[in-house]
């Protein structure tokens, strides 16, 4: 297998490694920005930014490891996550339901940012380089993708609005995807494609539910989920 060669080409010192590190940090910052914002447009915009950077990172890995499947994935990511999903969310949810400010936040913004910083630190500490001896990639990417996953999860937990939870889940998926393409670059394409399909279907269904919820509850602000308790 060509893996030994690949390992060197993606170390931190090489250009592709540095680009990957940079992309991962930008994605992390986008996740923080999403956590720290209160406007729905911003959520979607930061998610779109994150996805576009993710597709760029996929392209870098594809280029460095000469994997044609990854090119296809990079393009798919760009089209679906970078363009289609933000557009669909904007058009079918934000515009139709006329949502602007998110007021359904459990803790204050500053508190959630601080918790996010702690989670990032935790991710850095927990994923030590020595647990990944066969690291294919720039070693910063794995803790960064873990941090993005944790931040996505935090967004889902802290926000009570369904759209914010949806964006949180999408950010989480981005983190998983980043970890996937860099940690296991040779993941079978058919499975990746399947994962993509699931993602698209899930988003479509979620969008439908949110529209339906907003209709039913007929509140101007968000569907705060209170019906089912205990």
């Amino acid at each position: 297998m060509s893996l030994p060669l690949a390992a060197e080409s993606l170390s931190a010192a090489s250009t592709s490694g540095a680009l990957l590190d940079l992309s991962a940090v930008v994605m992390l910052l986008a996740a923080f920005a999403c956590l720290g914002s209160k406007l729905f447009d911003r959520y979607v915009a930061y998610y779109a930014l994150q996805s576009i950077v993710l597709s760029f990172a996929a392209g870098v890995v594809a280029f460095a490891l000469h994997q044609p499947d990854l090119w296809a994935l990079a393009v798919l990511t760009f089209l679906i996550k970078g363009v289609a999903i933000p557009f669909a969310t904007r058009r079918f949810l934000l515009d139709r339901l006329e949502l602007h400010r998110d007021v359904a936040i459990s803790t204050g913004l500053s508190t959630s940012l601080i918790i996010g910083a702690f989670l990032t630190a935790f991710a850095y500490l927990a994923i030590r380089p020595h647990t990944l001896p066969h690291a294919l990639v720039a070693s910063a990417v794995v803790p960064l993708s873990t941090a993005i996953i944790l931040l996505g999860g935090l967004t889902m937990v802290v926000r009570r609005h369904t759209i914010a939870q949806l964006i949180g889940w999408l950010i989480l998926e981005n983190g998983v995807f980043l970890g996937a393409i860099t940690l296991t670059a040779t993941f079978p394409f058919i499975v990746e494609a399947g994962i993509f399909l699931d993602l698209v279907a899930a988003v479509l269904i979620m969008i439908t539910f949110v529209s339906g919820l907003a209709h039913r509850l007929a509140t101007a602000t968000a569907p705060e989920l209170r019906e089912l308790r205990h």
């Binding site: 940690l183 993941f187 949110v210 089912l228």
Partner: protein
């Protein structure tokens, strides 16, 4: 054999085409039932084939059927049959009483068919990545069913379901990735590194730390699907808001596919990690039993009661896997089958109660035995069965599990017994109150009991009774071979 294996999921899936035809409720229900029965028949045939000719593998591991797969396929296919037959009466009733409009009926049919077919397909693949894809896909199909009735509470339950499930399943994806990563020391092709037989063969050579993380995340992730505490939060809402046949499928079948994934993960992880896997499963299992038992004491929505009972039973299965050994795994598998049948019966019964009393609140239902004797009887007997009283099947499986527990550490087994008693009290109280007493002032529709509706109920209960006193030789050998496949 390939045809058989392909037909098992495809026949139920064909039901998804039914909405394209001008069939009404009854027709849709019949198509679903036909698909379910066909699938079940093929599953039986496949099991027989596997028993005779050994493991079947094709498509470089994408299709893989061994004894464990065929056991689970049989269980799930049986639930699909029971639920689809129950759907006939359900759909007809809803159409007659304007509960669902035509679009909703068609969505039900499509969702049900996809759900059943995808679940069965996920049990037939040996590629863990594809397993993930199919389990997630079946989750999405079932989400449509949960939100079908379109009320605010249904949509909310569906939303909670899909978001918590997706979160959990994403964890399972990370687990799969880590498993893939842990197999990097093996000199296999990328596809093979994800297939279960190859991983199981080389299980001792997997990278330790990544494998630990993979297993833990796998239990957390797939455990969300199974309903293990503390990831069970979506379960009560989803199972109570879905239409009753769908609840049956959710509780009895979908949870089992998640458990199937956990069993596979455990089999791969144990050679390298040893008792760690058992400890993890014990922790989550006991947490689930405790939470299930505690929440069952509340009186309220009786479908939620059944849902918490599912949490409890999944906990029992997890504890059984945690106890380990031949006895533990045998108990786990047997309990999976028994619980599947029992829970289907209970949920279908609850469907009858809901349709007659038009409420899900246990406080407003009383006198089921008087108003609808068959339903009331099955409710009572079904509750007894699900709580593990003899002579029903669950008693046998729980007994086996407790025995397995005593083999290891006895105080854990005592804890298990104590929690089971607690659960018994909580559950029995509610259903006994529902079944007996004066019929509630809210007038129930005085309908005749339809034969079609009663069929799955009686059949299921009879099966439970049978399994309580006698385990057929074929079943026994199937289970023993399954245990052999994973140890």
């Amino acid at each position: 054999m390939t045809t058989l294996v392909v037909l098992v999921p495809v026949l139920p899936l064909l039901g998804a085409l039914a909405p394209l035809t001008p069939l009404r409720a009854r027709g849709l229900g019949l198509v679903l039932a036909a698909g379910g029965l066909g699938g079940f028949a093929c599953a039986v045939a496949a099991a027989v084939h596997v028993a005779g000719h050994g493991t079947f593998e094709t498509g470089s591991g994408f299709i893989y059927v061994d004894s464990l797969s065929s056991f689970f396929m049989l269980t799930v296919a049986l639930v699909v049959v029971l639920a689809s037959v129950g759907s006939i009466a359900y759909l007809r009733h809803e159409e007659q009483h304007d509960g669902l409009n035509l679009l909703q009926l068609r969505l039900y049919a499509a969702g049900f068919a996809l759900f059943g077919g995808l679940m069965l397909a996920s049990l037939e693949t040996g590629n863990l990545g594809l397993l993930w894809v199919l389990i997630e896909a079946s989750t999405l199909a079932s989400a449509v069913l949960v939100g079908l009735e379109g009320k605010a509470s249904s949509l909310e339950a569906a939303w909670k379901y899909i978001i918590v499930s997706s979160f959990g399943v994403t964890m399972a994806l990370v687990a799969t990735l880590f498993l893939y990563y842990a197999s990097s020391p093996l000199a296999l092709s990328p596809n093979q590194r994800l297939t279960w037989p190859a991983l199981f063969l080389h299980a001792g050579a997997l990278q330790h730390d990544s494998l630990r993380l993979a297993f833990l995340l796998g239990v957390i992730g797939y455990g969300t699907k199974v309903g293990l505490a503390p990831m069970h939060t979506w379960l009560p809402d989803a199972h109570s808001e879905a239409p009753s046949p769908a609840s049956a499928m959710l509780s009895a079948a979908l949870l089992n596919t998640g458990m199937y994934a956990i069993v596979r993960f455990q089999a791969v992880a144990t050679p390298e990690l040893g008792r760690y896997t058992n400890h993890v499963l014990l922790v989550f299992g006991f947490a689930s039993i405790a939470i299930g038992a505690l929440f069952m004491v509340r009186r309220g929505n009786f479908k939620r009661l059944f849902a918490y009972s599912s949490v409890e039973h999944m906990g029992i299965i997890s504890v059984a896997l945690g106890f380990g050994g031949v006895l533990g795994v045998y108990g786990a598998l047997l309990h999976t089958l028994n619980h599947a049948i029992g829970k289907s019966v209970l949920f279908l019964t609850s469907g009858e109660v809901v349709q007659r009393w038009r409420t899900r609140d246990a406080g407003r239902v009383a006198g089921v035995l008087t108003r609808a004797p068959l339903v009331g009887g099955i409710l009572l007997l079904g509750s007894l069965a699900i709580l593990g009283s003899p002579p029903f099947g669950l008693f046998l499986s729980e007994f086996t599990i407790v025995r397995a527990g005593f083999r290891g550490s006895s105080w854990l087994a005592f804890l298990l017994l104590a929690l089971l008693v607690l659960a018994f009290v909580g559950f029995a109280r509610t259903t006994a109150d529902m079944a007996t007493g004066e019929p509630a002032p809210v007038d129930a529709n005085a309908e005749r009991q339809s034969v079609v509706a009663a069929l799955p109920l009686v059949a299921g209960l009879a099966a439970l009774l049978l399994l309580g006193v006698w385990i057929p030789g074929g079943l026994n050998s199937l289970i023993m071979h399954s245990i052999g496949a994973i140890t």
